[in-house]
């Protein structure tokens, strides 16, 4: 987990079937205030293209992506 980012909500997307990771992030980010950051944790390599592409089309921002041996963590700032 990134210590320098204040996270408002975390979404566990591990093992979800297509297209639920993006659907859950898209709906879930509306639960936090504009300017807040959510954390999304995924195991799917496709999320490394899906989540940034979704952010670009919706006006939100992936401010940091971390990968380790097991999971991928996205930190997404709600801008829209």
């Amino acid at each position: 987990m990134s210590d320098d980012i204040k996270i408002s909500k975390t979404f566990d997307l591990k093992g979800l079937a297509c297209p639920m990771p993006v659907v859950k992030v898209s709906k879930g980010i509306k639960d936090v205030e504009v300017g807040d950051v959510i954390e999304a944790i995924s195991t799917d390599p496709g999320s490394l293209t899906d989540i940034p592409a979704w952010a670009r089309t919706t006006g939100n921002e992936v401010i940091k992506t971390e990968q380790d041996d097991k999971v991928i963590r996205f930190y997404i700032k709600r801008n829209a």
């Binding site: 297509c18 297209p19 293209t49 670009r56």
Partner: protein
Amino acid sequence: MDAKTRDDLLGLFQSKLNEAMHFYLETCTRCGVCTEACHVHASMGQVRYIAAYRHEIIRRLYKKHFKARGKVWPSVGESKELTEMALDELYEAAYSCTGCRRCMMYCPFGIDTQMLMSIAKLLLIGANAEPETLTMLADMSIEKGKSIDIFKEGFINGLKRLEDEVVAKWRQEAGEAVIPVDVEGADLLYVALAGAHSIIPAAAIFNAAGEKWTLSFFEAVNFGAFVGDPTRTKLILDRIVNEALRLKVKEVCICECGTAFRVMKQLSGKHPFTVSSITDVHARYLKEGRIRLDKTKFNVPITYHDPCQIARNGGVIDAPRYILKQLTDDFRELAPEPAYNWCCGGGGGLVALGEDTLDFRMKSSRVKVDQVRGTGATILTTACENCHTQLSNLRDHYKMEVDVTFLSSMVADALVPA
């Protein structure tokens, strides 16, 4: 609804009126043969879910706005004005239909409900009344096509995390790529889904078969087709077509995703490569002796759900059965004729809409549950992500004592040296 909006929507309606569509709109004799064909009607028993009823919602608008008798004498012409209320009816008809085309098999005239519902979906897009989740997903896919150079490196790094799991299923020689990407001159381009489960078993099988393959940067699913938007459908298809042309592959192999396969196979046009379902490819490897399976791996009764878009609408019926004969001596058919199999109830974008459609999907698919239970099988396997999700939801909801699996995963788990 103001006059300009109606005119714009009627322009969209007009754009769908090709020769086949005129035939579908002019031909129904209300014989009622389709009544029991729809899994929604068979499960819920409501008239609005009969295929001919769905057709009639489109047909009455057609008569009002495109036929002389409906225009001048609406009550006799059985016509109906395009209004906000009509849009609500179009939504109900289009998004309670999975586009499985089982009704088309029964109709003596072959009226294609999915095609007629494509008019409803296009009008809903024109009125900004389509499910916004599907449009959001389609736009995400299109953006990926535009910006892939930005995302490539992260994706390739992400694949490295999967390599150990691929090798655990099939050991590679040192120095060979476990999950090759962006390989110009490869024979086969594999188009997966976002999930690791769509990549790991497939990679192990390609490697076991000695295939010269490469993984696509893009996901196979076409959300433009789910939402019924021809422009978005084409843009999403073009990403894969352009990648296949750039890499000069001979074959594009679509993962276990029914709509992705049907759309790529039937709507992408003519190209210098062939389009195959992964099930076809696995059956081919078995026939050619390139892979071999351990028949004792799954020593229980197995049944197979034919995904509508791969079997009934895509023609892939024999291949999964050939594979299953190599996996088990106790394969049990779900339906006497696979082409008449009940839909799982999750197609047409309904599964992609997630929990919003869950209650309807469970109620409208009771006949599928009865069909699975009737086999006595303890493994229910399939070759489509949508079907897998829906069948897993049905298993949980109806407490079915059955494991739901992907056929490709079973093949990968049963691999033995050829």
